[in-house]
């Protein structure tokens, strides 16, 4: 909401306050300032000049050479514009001048002739939005403009305008009078709203028009005035200046009046060409299903029964509060006009404008809610302006249909409760004076519980807490003392799952991985990209009805594509090797009719590429599981997952439960992501890991008796798995085995084709006695025999 301070000053004297200070104090009393603007601030050293003489440029067909009288001297300027004539007065950017957008103008030569500046178009002065065809040629100023004057004075620039952010609870502040009310409270200065006097022509409005409201649920008030013998022309400068400063483009006197009054009072008005209304009658009714109306923008709109229209007995004229009709639009030819002021149901306007896909300044104001009691003032103000601008003669009287008048309501307030709620000690008198300055009357002032009488423009105030806010913001939030919460100390802290998440992050970052965070809304094309079968449950997703695009249209069911994208992005940035992890949610649709919500599961995905192999990522997982107290787990071969390499993939089982998958990503997929390296990824069910984790630690005494170490190098078929050998070692060694360490695996030279050498170091120890060599040798031999007979292994010597 753009508020020109000059305009505001008409209702409350603030012109002695620095605009920045004004903005700061308004912000602190509840009207948040987005920006303090000085119109034309970027323009420097641009003056008015008269074109004394125009000659053709000797060296360029499209250029002309102008001798410019700029007051102090006559200078030569070359221009390419073709709308310049001798005698015209135009804006001249002198040498060293500045224009909006940081443009600097300097003296220079154009095709051999000196040019001492530039003649400006309206667009070049930043007036593109307000002047028709602003960029088409040089901005020709009125003939009586003085020469050699700063252009900012001529165009009424240099004004302070404040851009306020008006919150949805304060539609009353979407007006100069509303903001003046706030300023008057903030600066404790009197508010003066000029009284309205309309000079009427003596004819009776009832002879011209009759109004019937058929849909009273959608229209609480409808008032009209008639203006005769209108003369459509430009508005006076003062009005155009205010409109421009408030961000509204001047059109003609009648349209400008409706806009001016809307900005001043916050009440949208609509002007009809009276002669296009049949039967001297306005009917406010619901549209008929399928009824058509050609709107101002020239489009045929199909209406339905949920929409409110303003009609005459024959046809709809406008969509109420949303958009005018082309037929009844005010044009240069109009000679009689009907001004409408109305209060339409906000929700209805909102739904209608949504259905029609069209939002106007008026419709958005109706949506937010307007005090029905300002309707008549606004209408009369428009009539007053018609007379003031000599735009026509106003017919006597108004037609005003307003059955259920909205009256002020009361809210019980207890100063004591308010102080206890705010944590303040504001005297009752102070509270009362704050409320009264806000036009909220207080009655029963001598009682503990008083009554606040809420003016109808403050629909946002219903409860004592609302009053507390009014008092607090004017008293000053920063005057409320900061205090600590009293009452019993609470335990607070992290729960088990949150602590485990923290440990997991420590372990994974300690393993050299970087944590990533990626969008949880993804593309349905991701599934094809990672070879997810058509019938996979992963494809059953939560889908967004109104996504930003296909790429961000479903809730993810796997974190793998996001991880691949992170890897691809980093690879493309010439990072040769890296590892990442993400702890994030996936979303499984649930058919549960009661919760209606999906299951949100926490998943852990780890990804690495470059200087690593399967065993690096497996090691990461093992370290994580062990750190979380999960000692028993099993990696089982998984060769049927199309996302992964069939020979280099395992599923992870804990207590016979599948908790995830780890392996090398299928080479076809890697290619699709443009990563020419091996990529290893695991995806684990983190909720399961949390529930399986065992964080309680129990001390085990350190071993008292010495250990005996035996090494064993075996030659086995290459497809024998280490786990098979280890199972046998454990089975035969029983509780004498303290640890088994695989220390070498080798294929190649000196090893027969199809075989591999695999070497273990086994540590034997008993916790109740010193082991003897004989005893260990016996066990060790039995292990060797067993691997020989069961796995066809040969002992290497």
């Amino acid at each position: 909401m753009l508020v020109p301070l000059k305009w505001l000053n008409e209702y409350v004297k603030i012109d002695d306050i620095d605009p920045q200070e004004f903005a700061d104090r308004m912000t602190m009393s509840g009207s948040k300032v987005e920006e303090v603007i000085e119109t034309g601030k970027e323009i420097e050293n641009v003056v008015t000049g008269r074109i004394v003489k125009i000659e053709k440029h000797p060296n360029a067909e499209k250029l002309v050479v102008c001798q410019m009288d700029v007051g102090s001297e006559t200078i030569q300027i070359i221009t390419g514009a073709d709308n310049v004539r001798e005698g015209q007065i135009v804006p001249v950017a002198l040498h060293g001048s500045k224009l909006p957008g940081g443009v600097k103008i300097k003296r220079g030569k154009l095709r051999g002739l000196e040019s001492n500046g530039m003649l400006c178009s309206a667009a070049e002065l930043g007036l593109g939005e307000y002047v028709p065809n602003a960029a088409a040629g040089i901005y020709i100023l009125p003939e009586d403009t003085k020469v050699g004057v700063d252009i900012k004075d001529v165009l009424n620039l240099g004004n302070a305008v404040i851009d306020f952010e008006i919150t949805s609870n304060r539609p009353d502040c979407l007006s100069m009078i509303g903001m003046a009310r706030e300023a008057s409270v903030t600066f404790n200065r009197p508010l003066s709203i000029p009284e309205i006097h309309v000079k009427e022509n003596g004819q009776d409005v009832n002879d011209f028009i009759d109004v019937e409201i058929k849909a009273k649920d959608l229209c609480t008030r409808y008032g009209v005035r008639i203006v005769r013998n209108v003369k459509i022309e430009e508005s006076p400068d003062w009005m155009k200046e205010r409109l421009k400063d408030a961000g509204v483009r001047p059109i003609n006197n009648i349209v400008d009046i409706t806009n001016y009054v809307m900005l001043e009072y916050g009440q949208p008005l609509h002007a009809f060409d009276y002669d296009k209304i049949s039967g001297k009658k306005i009917i406010v009714r619901r549209a008929k299903d399928g009824e058509n109306l050609k709107t101002l923008d020239g489009k045929d709109r199909k209406l339905d029964n949920s929409m409110l229209v303003i009609a005459d007995p024959e046809k709809p004229l406008v969509v109420a509060g949303v958009m005018g009709g082309e037929d009844s639009e005010v044009t240069e030819k109009s000679s009689n006009i009907l001004f409408e002021t109305a209060n339409f149901n906000g929700t209805s306007v909102r739904l209608t404008s949504k259905k029609l896909g069209f939002r106007t300044e008026a419709s958005s104001r109706f949506e937010k809610g307007i005090d029905p009691n300002i309707a008549l003032d606004a209408l009369n103000r428009a009539a007053e302006l018609v007379v003031e601008l000599k735009a026509g003669e106003v017919v006597s009287g108004v037609v005003d249909n307003y059955d259920n008048e909205l009256r002020p309501w009361t809210v019980d307030i207890s100063p004591d409760r308010i102080n206890r709620f705010l944590g303040t000690d504001i005297p009752k008198d102070k509270m009362v004076s704050i409320l009264e300055s806000l036009k909220i009357d207080v009655v029963d002032k001598d009682k503990d519980v008083m009554k606040a009488v809420i003016p109808t423009f403050r629909a946002d105030i219903e409860l004592e807490e609302d009053i507390a806010e009014e008092i607090a913001r004017i008293y000053g939030y920063n005057n409320i003392e900061s205090t600590r919460i009293k009452g019993e100390a609470l335990e607070g802290g992290l729960n088990r799952e949150q602590k485990i998440e923290g440990i997991a992050r420590d372990i994974l970052t300690g393993s050299g991985l970087y944590e990533t965070i990626t969008y949880s809304i993804v593309s349905p094309d991701d599934f094809d990209k990672i070879n997810i079968p058509k019938n996979s449950a992963l494809r059953n997703t939560i889908t967004i009805l109104n996504p930003l695009g296909r790429d961000l249209s479903i809730m993810r069911t796997t974190l793998i594509p996001s991880m691949l994208e992170v890897i691809a992005r980093n690879y493309s940035k010439k990072i040769e090797s890296a590892g990442f992890f993400e702890l994030g949610r996936v979303y499984w649709p649930l058919d549960d009719k009661i919760s209606k919500l999906p299951e949100e599961k926490n998943m852990l995905v780890i990804g690495m590429y470059g200087d690593c192999d399967f065993y690096d990522i497996k090691g990461c997982i093992e370290l994580l599981l062990q750190s979380l107290g999960i000692r028993k787990y099993e990696f089982k071969r998984e060769s049927d997952n199309a996302t992964f390499h069939p020979g280099k993939t395992a599923k992870l089982e804990v207590k016979r439960k599948n908790i995830g998958i780890v392996g090398e990503i299928h080479p076809d997929i890697i290619e699709r992501f443009d990563i020419p390296k091996h990529v290893y990824i695991c995806e684990l069910d983190f909720d399961e890991i949390v529930s399986l984790s065992e964080l309680d630690k129990h001390f085990k005494p350190l071993p008292k008796y010495p250990s005996i170490e035996r090494d064993m190098a075996l030659l086995v078929d290459r497809n024998i798995m280490a786990s098979e050998i280890e199972d046998i070692i454990r089975e035969k060694g029983g509780n004498l085995i303290e640890s088994i360490k695989l220390f070498d695996v080798y294929e190649g030279k000196q090893i027969p084709e199809g075989k591999k050498s695999i070497a273990y170091s086994i540590i034997y120890r008993s916790d109740c006695r010193t082991l003897k060599d004989d005893e260990v040798n016996k066990v060790h031999d039995s292990i060797i025999k067993s691997v020989e007979s069961n796995l066809g292994a040969q002992l290497r010597l």
Partner: protein
């Protein structure tokens, strides 16, 4: 003979002093104490002495012998010591060569800041709770005092799943979910992802992170809200941080405020982070709206509370001087390894 002995002693000690290494010292030993050594020769020649002189000279000779031995040993020790020192000194490595760093790894900056925030609030007795991201319209809006067709809904730019289900636009729905199940005293923070239909650019992201805070108890005041958030701001941005509470509007709080903190980058002097104002807005807050308490069956005549919502990305951007929100979600390692 006595003179001879004393001369040997003197010569020997000079020779020892001159000797510069173990071999030379050994030569000294041979020269005086060896089988053909001069002292040995004298000892051998003792037979020619008379019986009175023999024990006296013998004693002296032995004393001199052990003195020389001792001197040689001492010299040998110091030579060894010197040689070892020389050897170590020659074993030079280039300490300017790069150290071997194990892969570093790091938490995501958003996690780092979130952990800090969790620590601040858990220290003040808050619990950390989480809630669903795919949420019912009821909790996201209605229970937060934003009824159907309320104009505030347009501003929110909500992603819908169906008529009743949406992606939460704020962490506030967890206020209602928590209050339905737990009675005061309540002190929680709710971190989590939220969604708004904003096209990604330097300051917008359709997915981002919020931290909701809620305190409900008997006698909670707006002064408590200010006091709690003052502590939060000072702990997060530094002890010298100043705060400014500005009136604002949210449907689920009344009174409502926005909190500005003095810019931690320029200390209030004005910079690009604070757009020259010296202040940055970090959160919205307010006293829990009585209608929200009512929705959750908490008696608003008995209890009051405050709530706040912090944008995690925004806080991290201010804290680290990051200028583009998209960097958090691109996960470029050159970004991640700065934290």
């Amino acid at each position: 003979m006595r003179d001879q002995l004393l001369k040997i002693k003197k010569e020997a000690s000079e020779d020892i002093k001159k000797a510069s290494n173990a071999i030379e010292l050994d030569n000294v030993r041979v020269k005086y104490l060896g089988k053909k050594g001069s002292l040995t020769a004298i000892l051998r020649g003792m037979g020619s002495l008379d019986s009175e002189e023999r024990p006296v000279i013998g004693k002296l000779a032995n004393e001199i012998r052990s003195e020389i031995e001792e001197l040689i040993n001492e010299a040998l020790e110091s030579v060894k010591e010197r040689e070892r020192h020389e050897k170590l000194k020659s074993e030079i490595i280039d300490i300017s060569m790069p150290g071997r760093i194990k892969n570093r790894g790091a938490r995501h900056p958003l996690t780092i800041v979130l952990d800090e925030i969790k620590e601040i609030f858990t220290g003040m007795g808050f619990l950390v709770v989480e809630g669903p991201e795919v949420e019912l319209d009821y909790y996201n809006f209605e229970a937060m005092n934003i009824p159907k067709n309320h104009p505030a809904r347009d501003v929110q730019d909500t992603f819908y799943i169906n008529d009743e289900v949406l992606l939460r636009t704020q962490t506030s729905p967890m206020q209602a979910r928590y209050m339905e199940k737990n009675k005061p005293p309540i002190r929680i923070i709710v971190p989590g992802r939220v969604y708004r239909s904003d096209t990604p650019d330097a300051s917008h992201s359709p997915v981002f992170t919020q931290i909701e805070g809620l305190v409900v108890d008997d006698g909670i005041t707006m002064g408590n809200l200010k006091g709690t958030l003052d502590i939060f701001a000072r702990k997060l941005f530094g002890e010298d941080t100043k705060t400014k509470f500005r009136p604002h509007h949210f449907n689920f709080t009344e009174p409502s405020a926005e909190l500005d903190v003095s810019c931690s980058v320029c200390k209030g002097a004005g910079c690009s982070v604070c757009k020259g104002t010296g202040w940055v807005e970090i959160l919205g807050c307010g006293m829990v709206h009585p209608k929200v308490l009512e929705f959750c069956k908490i008696d608003h005549r008995k209890y009051s509370g405050f709530a706040f919502g912090v944008g995690l990305e925004r806080v991290a951007m201010i804290k680290y001087g990051i200028n583009d929100i998209r960097l958090f979600y691109e996960n470029d390692i050159r970004f991640l390894n700065q934290f």
